[in-house]
């Protein structure tokens, strides 16, 4: 997959509900099909991003962990 990331969000250091809330704000100004990459350090963001994507229909393409930083790549529905 070689689609480029349209928006990158640094959510490190933020805790619930800001990682989700800020992602929701950012995704509003994106076009359908574009990708957003978010990095967070709140461990709760792992289940929360999955739940949020499931409920909003946005597609969680990748979820990786690197030294306490959780990275999410989401495609806007």
């Amino acid at each position: 997959m070689s689609q480029t990331i349209a928006v990158t969000l640094d959510l490190r250091g933020l805790s619930c509900p800001l990682p989700i809330a800020k992602t929701a704000v950012a995704i509003r100004s994106m076009h359908a099909g574009e990708l957003i990459e978010a990095r967070a350090t709140d461990p709760g963001s792992v289940p929360d991003f999955a739940a949020w994507c499931e409920s909003t229909g946005n597609e969680l393409l990748e979820q990786t962990t690197d030294g306490g930083v959780f990275r999410f790549v989401i495609r806007k529905v």
Binding site: C16, P17, L18, D42
Partner: protein, 187 residues
């Protein structure tokens, strides 16, 4: 004379149909696309979860409304406004119960303001967003914040005493009209 007997299999079928019916409705009622929170309390430990739930619901695409009534109205007062009201009773009330997100007390362990100070320090250390920050995010996400007109009259709060970005003050009927077909919480 004939007596109708119901065989055990028919009972099983009836129960199965009943369970299927219940399950279908359970799913129906569990799925709401709107959230209405009645924010009645001005306590920090209630306003905090109110704003957390409201911002998260809006982020999830739910049409979200918070109706601020009674003590719940005080967090909407501008932080710099000290005394509100027309008569001595309303003024006294605002002196003893200062409005604004910076001046909220805890429902327990308040210790004349030491409790909230400790809570805010803990929140800072754990990077938990303050009610003020959450309020701003709520406005960004389009949460409808309705001040209760009746409480404003009762407590002598003017529109100018309250923060910007609120919906027009309204009454119980507006809030309840929005609450139909919505998930509702009274906090």
């Amino acid at each position: 004379m004939t007596t109708e007997t119901v065989s055990p299999t028919t009972y099983d079928e009836m129960f199965e149909a009943m369970h299927a019916e219940l399950a279908a409705h359970e799913h129906e009622s569990a799925k709401h696309s709107n959230l209405v929170i009645f924010a009645w309390s001005g306590d920090l430990d209630r306003i905090w979860p109110t704003f957390i739930l409201a911002t998260t619901a809006a982020a999830m695409g739910m049409q979200t409304t918070v109706f601020f009534t009674f003590w719940g109205l005080f967090p909407l007062v501008k932080n710099e406004v000290r005394i509100t009201g027309e008569n001595w009773m309303q003024k006294m009330m605002s002196m003893m119960n200062r409005g604004g997100t910076e001046h909220l007390g805890l429902s327990k362990m308040n210790f004349a303001g030491a409790g909230p100070a400790m809570m805010k320090k803990l929140a800072d250390e754990h990077h938990v967003a303050s009610p003020q920050e959450l309020l701003e995010v709520a406005r960004d996400l389009g949460v409808t914040l309705i001040p209760c007109q009746m409480t404003m009259d009762l407590l002598g709060l003017e529109r100018g005493d309250l923060i910007d970005g609120l919906a027009e003050p309204a009454g119980a009927a507006t809030a309840l009209a929005r609450a139909q077909d919505s998930l509702t919480l009274f906090i």
